[in-house]
Symmetry: C2
Subunit: 417 residues, 2 copies
């Protein structure tokens, strides 16, 4: 007997049939003896429909009213799920974010949760109800409805789980869990039985869109284990995202994340004086362009090479700024490549194991891929390569680290309920 | 400068174009210097769509969750109207019924308003906002969302107007106001410039579906004038529904209401003993059949004739009950007619004027219509006639009382703002 928070996304509640299916999954957890709080997103397509209505009235809808409007999407699905549960004689009560006491800051359309009142939740649970909560929303100090921004339902679920000290937070999606890399690109990708918060954050920030980043941060902060599961398959336990100490079986690396549509810009032979890097990046950020990776090499004591990557959409604007800067600073050259991709190997194990980087670079070299830039963090090595080599590169590293064989460890690391 | 509560129905906010049009009407009132509170219904078709979703999940959706679901319809239209107003630089804030403080009893799907908190309303109005309120909903003591039942937005508007001591409550619909009779039946029908609460209640209960009856009762109780107006026409002042003393120009009669699909049942020669009427009607109500008109004639001191009408749908059931009763009581005969209609002449003036009834009966007689039953109240005379004579009867009375000439008085009785 434990307290479980379950979250079902928009595709999981996208039709009445699916809502009935979700109801049966909720009842299963209830029948296993658990207290259950369910967080739901809006039915697939509903939020977009509401946003289109608002947009048709003018270019910048009033943010307070925009939140009032779009928050109805979750209210519809929560009520329908509660109706489905009650129809099956499973007592359930639904609550909007404001009603259940999810308190946020005042920033409409991108509010952050500040506090969750748990009195009402505890009372309803103790009376045997399944509590169904609308995801993605709360209220500010004035009592106005706020929304948490896209994907905010994951955050609602984790915040509720943390506030209630739940046993686990289950995030149901349309994928089976977290894979070693995107299975649409590498079919041999393995489903991970577990992954650490830190690894998941690196995966999420690098484009693996299973969980919203903020929800992983929040889970990590509160040591709240998240299990990513498929709504549509009963046959696996998904992926447990948890804190490192709970993971009994250590792995060297856990997965490969990647992002396409990057551009790389290098300015070489810049006079090496204090503050030069800040000056260069200041010009870029003044133009509202976001930078991704940054690397600097000292080539000799008088000059320096400075390289960064960014999303390809801003490439032309950046190029003209950098050419001007090159002239102004008397740089040796400005070299760019607008058709690159980023590939990152992630693993908590690499902290204590040397040789991960060299094995990765060797794997890429063996298939003839030229590395154009490297950055590293404690649990991640990222490289920039030509975009048309991306798949070949992922596969080479996937094989070198035998990531396709991870599946066999699947059943070993689940926390006991 | 006054405080006006405006209410727009589902067809008035049925599309984004119409919502923009409503915004311009609200702004017009605001520009005339008034404080404005706007009550909106759900966009046309939306409530039905939500009800269908609930019904598809089971035959009897949980009432609390049903209210949670259907109350989103008004929330969408209120937010869209507030967005439209803000887009046009008219500061507006929308509130659900629960948020603004509309307190109801605990009866889901048919709650009654018990109290309205006005602090927030007054604060928003004093800061210059148009306050847009979702109609048809409130919250009970537990904080759960309740709905007032179909047409409840009229009631919300009148209750808000009464609580705020508004100058008038404007109900915008898709008709121009209240007519002397249904203009689809009698094209010569006149638009009434004014009508008393009592007359309006008689009209409403007799099938003129312009205003929800409960809202008229509430307005009458609180002496809150209601003006019924067309959303789509700027050229008339609609119909003012108000208390009798405010109406400067008295009329003999105000209109003709009617209802089709009635059936009449008469039991004749029943032994006349105390309680016999209650015994007969008890049999009918035990079968869950609703009775409309009732009349009794004492024919001689030993027996009595007892006649009533009801909706035609229950006719067969009633007939068999009455035939049994006739045998049991030894009645002389049971006479019925399942194809009759009710026609009622309504007018506060008839209280003090004799001759209204005889003029009405003569008008019907002149066109060869046989009256099968008569009942009267202080401001109403109702007759039952064959359904196929209904139109001819309405027209005859309409002409006899010169109701087609009422339009000329139109501009005379408006209350000053």
């Amino acid at each position: 007997m434990a307290l479980i928070v379950q979250k079902y996304g928009g595709s999981s509640v996208g039709t009445l049939e699916r809502i009935k299916h979700v109801a049966s999954k909720v009842m299963q957890a209830k029948q296993e003896g658990h207290d259950v709080v369910v967080v739901v997103s809006a039915m697939q397509g509903e939020t977009d429909r509401l946003i289109q209505l608002a947009s048709a009235l003018g270019p910048e809808p009033d943010p307070r009213e925009y939140d009032m409007l779009v928050s109805t999407g979750e209210q519809v699905s929560m009520a329908l799920l509660a109706i489905a549960l009650n129809t099956k004689n499973c007592p359930a009560r639904s609550y909007t974010g404001p009603q259940i006491g999810i308190m946020t800051d005042r920033f409409h359309t991108k509010a952050r949760i500040l506090d969750i009142k748990t009195d009402l939740l505890h009372r309803e649970l103790s009376e045997g109800y399944v509590v169904v909560v609308a995801g993605f929303q709360g209220k500010n100090e004035r009592g106005d409805t706020t929304t948490l921004g896209r994907g905010g339902s994951d955050t609602t679920a984790v915040a509720l789980a943390a506030a209630l000290k739940a046993h686990e937070c289950h995030i149901y999606t349309d994928v089976d869990g977290v894979y070693t890399t995107d299975p649409r690109v590498i079919p041999e990708a393995s489903l991970l039985s577990h992954i650490s918060f830190e690894e998941m954050l690196e995966m999420a920030s690098l484009g693996a869109k299973v969980l919203q980043m903020r929800s992983v941060e929040l889970a990590s902060k509160h040591n709240m284990p998240i299990r990513v599961l498929s709504t549509f398959s009963n046959n696996n336990m998904g992926t447990l995202v948890t804190f490192e100490e709970k993971i009994m079986q250590k792995r060297l690396v856990s997965g490969i994340a990647f992002s396409r549509e990057e551009a790389i810009i290098a300015i070489n032979g810049v006079p090496n004086r204090a503050g030069i890097e800040g000056y260069i990046l200041g010009q870029i950020s003044d133009a509202n362009i976001e930078i991704d990776m940054i690397a600097q090499n000292a080539t000799d004591k008088d000059t320096t090479d400075f390289t960064f990557t960014q999303h390809r959409k801003d490439y032309d604007k950046t190029l003209s700024i950098m050419q001007q800067l090159g002239n102004e600073l008397g740089a040796f050259s400005v070299k760019t490549n607008p058709k690159v991709a980023k590939l990152s190997l992630i693993g908590i194990g690499m902290r204590s194991h040397t040789g991960v980087a060299s094995k990765m670079f060797k794997a890429l070299g063996d298939v003839g891929i030229n590395i154009q830039m490297i950055t590293t963090s404690e649990i991640k090595i990222s490289v920039v390569i030509n975009e048309d080599c991306l798949e070949k590169g992922i596969r080479a590293i996937h094989e070198a680290f035998e990531l396709d064989k991870l599946s066999t460890e699947k059943q070993q690391v689940f926390l006991e309920l």
